[in-house]
Amino acid sequence: MFRKADWTDQKVEVIIANLLRIGVTFAATVVLAGGLVFLVRHGLSHANYHAFVGEPTDLRSWMGILHSALNLRGRGIIQLGLLLLIATPVARVAFAAFAFAVERDWLYVGISSFVLLVLLYSLLGSAV
């Protein structure tokens, strides 16, 4: 399966497009589920997004979001879905780096890895 001849740029792009579609569908499903929980519990509360207060820490970090989602809190589940959504293009870049390695195109392995590092820096900034 990992023979070089099987990996044309076109094929890689088809795999990537499917990866993206699956990622988005999955993330949207999680967001929708969390949204339903949130609306059932808080739908009749007053909506206030005019004043900016920032999100509490348990909706900002990976561990906080995971904890909140596992406790079946609506906002935590939505935030987990959004994290999955943000991770989808990251997975895309990681896969491209892998595909370039199979093609033995080391220049583009380097380029993809650099982009991946920038994305991970941004995402893992919310690790703690």
């Binding site: 949207a28 909506a47 005019h50 959004l82 491209a96 380029i111 920038v118």
Partner: protein, 278 residues
């Protein structure tokens, strides 16, 4: 207004933005922030956070549809993503230190610029000339299918395109938009890439660019789940529906109308910024 009513109204508005954005090819993200801030009185930082998330969703969701045409160039995209992701990080950090008034003004100017470029017909691809040696070294030149068989194209002025892409990334991170207008400017005008290749490649890049700043927004607490949920789901559903209708409609008149709406929103954003609405 209670949360249920707010969610339904924002969801419908986002659906419409995504639908018109896909139908006209101008992207829905650009009208989302004005819609949320001017109409729903949402703080601009929450609005930008929600918009960024929806940009990732539409870019990734549309990738499969674009790919059937087989035009996008994964190498051009990946190389330029170095510039857009670094720019996006800068934009996201700027968003924290720049005043909301300044963000409103920059947003208004970008809207006016987008309206201006979309009112012009897409430029014909320039005659092919000698490629940039750097583009050849980076393996960017390619072919795209045309009626007369596969057609070769070459990539020009890589450094100029790269710099413009850094700017596009910074705007994306600051304003939560896809910056499609600037990306196409960089690829069409500066690098001489054929229109069909540049638009599809740009769509691929938008998701990665937005992801680079979305992480920063999330960890800073600018992404509110209650707001992002209807925005993301609405825009995604709207853009998928728009892409489906696109094949059977003439969009030229709609494009003009939508461009006028964008220009009006741009003026309103600038006016709002100067009168201290943000």
């Amino acid at each position: 207004m209670n949360i249920l009513e707010f969610t339904i109204l924002v969801g419908l508005g986002s659906f419409l933005a995504g639908f018109l954005g896909a139908l006209t090819g101008l992207g829905g993200g650009v009208v989302l922030v004005p819609l949320l801030t001017l109409l729903f009185k949402v703080d601009i930082r929450y609005a930008v956070g929600a918009s960024l998330v929806s940009v990732i969703a539409t870019s990734s969701g549309a990738a499969a549809a674009y790919l059937k045409d087989g035009f996008s160039n994964i190498r051009i995209g990946m190389f330029l993503e170095i510039a857009t992701t670094l720019g996006a990080l800068l934009g996201a950090f700027l968003a924290a230190s720049v005043s909301t008034t300044a963000i409103g003004i920059v947003f208004g100017l970008v809207l006016l610029y987008s309206a201006y470029t979309s009112s012009r017909a897409p430029a014909e691809s320039p005659e092919d000339s000698q490629p940039d040696p750097l583009a050849t070294r980076l393996g960017m030149n390619g072919t795209y299918p045309s009626l007369s068989g596969p057609k070769d194209y070459h990539v020009h002025r890589v450094p100029a395109g790269f710099s413009l892409m850094f700017g596009a990334g910074a705007l994306s991170g600051l304003l939560g938009i896809g910056s499609g207008a600037v990306k196409v400017l960089a690829m069409d005008q500066a690098m001489g890439i054929p229109f069909k290749v540049s638009t599809t490649t740009s769509n691929f890049m938008i998701g990665v660019t937005a992801a680079a700043s979305a992480g920063v927004y999330l960890s800073r607490g600018y992404v509110d789940p209650g707001l992002a949920m209807p925005v993301m789901l609405g825009v995604l559903a709207g853009s998928l529906a728009g892409a489906r209708v696109l094949a059977r409609t003439k969009t030229q008149q709609l494009r003009v109308v939508f461009a006028l709406v964008i220009a009006a929103l741009g003026a309103e954003m600038i006016y709002g910024a100067f009168t201290g609405k943000f």
